[in-house]
């Protein structure tokens, strides 16, 4: 079915691990001491953006267990004392599940719809993290920084999403669902 040369194999492997690698990169980048005003506030939400964007086209390359590991890693790296470890993992898994369940409205539609979809899911993600952090540290957290973070990331989305989409332009799987072959209608690998 597929050519089995060395290059073809490398190509396949590269494609297989690329989304995970990009996600890992953004998880580590969260810690980078970048001092760009506003943008640095949004860094902790960029992994969620990556999860959303790759779940649109190739969810099978971001399997649930990988998201779990990445989310826990993000929480470990980011969290202060008392912050919940695993809340980002929960958020990632839920984002992926929502994207996969709502492919019909998110894949192969104008960019604006994807953006709206991202706005909704990111709002849910921010709210989830905020609520869990507030419960775990048992303090009335100021919602302002989280709101700023959210607003910045939805503004950043149109800048970053096309770049991430370019990461997989010649992917044979990156075509509308009917001609994909591997993913069957209704399949929601988690």
């Amino acid at each position: 079915m597929r050519a089995d040369g060395l290059l073809a194999m490398l190509d396949r492997w590269g494609r297989l691990i690329l989304p995970g690698a990009v996600l890992l990169f953004f998880v580590v980048l969260t810690l980078a001491p970048l001092r760009v005003p506003y943008l640095s506030d949004a860094l902790p939400l960029l992994p969620a953006l990556v999860v959303f964007q790759f779940s649109l086209a190739t969810p099978e390359r971001l399997p649930g267990p990988l998201l779990l590991v990445m989310g826990v890693l993000l929480d470990l790296l980011l969290g202060g004392p008392g912050a919940p470890v695993g809340v980002s993992a929960l958020g990632f898994v839920l984002i992926r599940a929502q994207v996969v369940a709502n492919r019909r409205y998110l894949v192969g539609v104008p960019f604006l719809f994807q953006w709206i979809g991202f706005c909704l899911l990111a709002a849910g993600f921010v709210l989830l993290v905020w609520v869990f952090t507030a419960i775990f540290t048992w303090t009335a957290l100021d919602p302002m920084p989280a709101t700023v973070q959210y607003l910045v990331v939805i503004v950043v989305y149109p800048l970053l999403a096309p770049l991430l989409a370019r990461v997989r332009p010649r992917d044979p799987l990156n075509v509308p669902e009917l001609s994909r072959g591997t993913a069957r209608p209704g399949e929601t690998t988690s």
Binding site: V28, L29, T30, L31, A32, P33, L34, R35, V36, S40, D41, L43, P44, G64, P65, L67, L68, G71, V72, L73, L76, L77, L78, G79, G80, P81, G82, A83, P84, V85, G86, V87, A89, L90, V93, L94, A97, V129, W130, F132, T133, F136, T137, T139, L141, D142, P145, A146, V148, Q149, R184, G186, E187, T188, T189, S190
Partner: protein, 299 residues
């Protein structure tokens, strides 16, 4: 044909069910991680330290480009206000020179007075200079990652200072990395003194740029502009590190602006005040020569 169709339908239904179940499992796993994190804080701290040690080389690798980008942005900002900045610095320099003279005079005087009163000074502090390789600043945490760790002598609880004043304390230590919790973090509580009145207070962060001062003995006479310094109570903090100044006084809440500029930190110093070192050193110092001599004798 019909049988095969039926089979496929059933198969796909089973698959969907399994996948639903998988989502549930993942959600349960995430909750499980949170519960474990709540129940076993030691395990989580070890995991954090491990993650920091693993991430720290990657951060070191991107530190240079990130620093270059930051510098370019800072340059752009400063370029606009170069002239005013220069004038301000000249003025400040003149003022500081006057202070330097005063400080020298006071130092001499202090020394003489100490000699007179047989005053014993506290343990000498030593510094470990560190580069900030990572920010852990999010909506919920105010902190940073340092490129020094246990191997360089950093220990949990040590004070972290900048040129201007106290930045925070060491919260977690790995072999070659450490996490600072800034004084502005919501988890930060710092015993302090109001420098002018010597009143004790607790300085608390709430993730905003300013700090909250909770006085222990009423709000007697704290004014705007009062300097807040560490009191050295309950911990390995030296006495008298400047922390910030009072910018707002009101009904029961006093706001303090920290001296350290958290938006442009690049290098910090970890203060090893040696309180833990004093205890360990006391027993270790006599033990070493004794061990060495017995070792020689047995040969």
């Amino acid at each position: 044909m019909a049988i095969r169709d039926d089979f496929e339908i059933v198969a796909s239904q089973v698959r969907v069910a399994v996948q639903r179940f998988a989502l549930g499992l993942l959600v349960i796993a995430a909750f499980g991680a949170m519960l474990i994190g709540k129940a076993d804080t030691v395990l989580v701290e070890q995991a954090r330290v491990l993650a920091l040690d693993l991430a720290s080389p990657a951060l070191e690798a991107i530190a240079r480009p990130v620093a270059a980008a930051n510098r370019a942005i800072a340059d752009l900002k400063e370029f606009a206000s170069l002239r005013e900045e220069n004038a301000r610095l000249r003025e400040e320099n003149a003022r500081l020179l006057a202070w330097q003279t005063a400080a020298r005079r006071l130092e001499n005087e202090n020394e003489r007075l100490r000699e007179l009163s047989q005053f014993r000074e506290g343990p000498e502090a030593s510094f470990i200079t560190a580069r900030i390789v990572g920010d852990s600043v999010s909506a919920y945490v105010r902190g940073a990652l340092l490129n020094v760790g246990r191997k360089a002598g950093v220990a949990s609880g040590q004070a972290v200072v900048t040129g201007e004043g106290l930045a925070g304390r060491i919260a977690e230590v790995g072999d070659n990395s450490a996490r600072v919790l800034f004084v502005t973090d919501v988890n930060s509580r710092l015993p302090v003194l109001v420098e002018r009145t010597r009143e004790r207070a607790i300085l608390a962060g709430d993730n905003s740029p300013q700090l909250r001062l909770n006085l222990l003995q009423g709000v007697a006479g704290v004014q705007r502009g009062d300097r807040i310094v560490t009191s050295g109570h309950g911990g390995s903090f030296p006495v008298g590190i400047p922390v910030g100044e009072v910018v707002q006084t009101g009904e029961g809440h006093i706001r303090v602006r920290p001296f350290a500029d958290f938006s442009r930190l690049e290098f910090v110093r970890v203060v090893d005040y040696g309180v833990t070192g004093l205890v360990g050193g006391g027993s270790a110092t006599p033990a070493t020569p004794a061990g060495a001599t017995t070792g020689q004798r047995s040969r």
